[in-house]
Symmetry: C2
Subunit: 112 residues, 2 copies
Amino acid sequence: MLINGGCPKNILSIKDALEALEGRWKLLILFALSSGPKRFKQLAREVVGITDKTLSKELKNLEANKLVTRSVHDTFPPTVEYTITSHGLSLEKVIEELHYWGLAHRAEIIGN
Amino acid sequence: MLINGGCPKNILSIKDALEALEGRWKLLILFALSSGPKRFKQLAREVVGITDKTLSKELKNLEANKLVTRSVHDTFPPTVEYTITSHGLSLEKVIEELHYWGLAHRAEIIGN
């Protein structure tokens, strides 16, 4: 198993992942986008607790890391939509394991 | 698949997990402890880039979340050791998926 041994070589890829996903918001934003493209205001409503300023900053960072794309549609007024990329969708297993661990963690912390 | 749909119920457990593991250091500290109990100075060396102040703060938080235990041994001078708990070890799959995704992310970002 990976965790047995704590190999220093593996720590680099884990560090890369943690830096790209840093903070409590990025995975939640990606999770919200996994059900389809969304506009800024929709995202701000779905990711409960995030401020507009933080959401804007996080979206820029996610774009730089090729995890979301931002597209401007030629409407009146112009509309902006955010879409998760295939690279963003490749986080599915990470999100899935976090979901299961989050359930176990809640049981562990509340159960004792 | 979990990510398809972005079910609001699942977002709670993901939020719980992200709050317990927030920041770039906690999983790296747990990863370092996965090879065996360590003293503070050993950890500070292995988790490259962390300051003593941050390590100390993170260890307290990990202890509060039952992910590590701190034990004081009756030696001259007394020695303090940190050990990963079974709850901490249950993060193995999360860390494993982050490792694989980190490898893919590096390829994606550097490869383009």
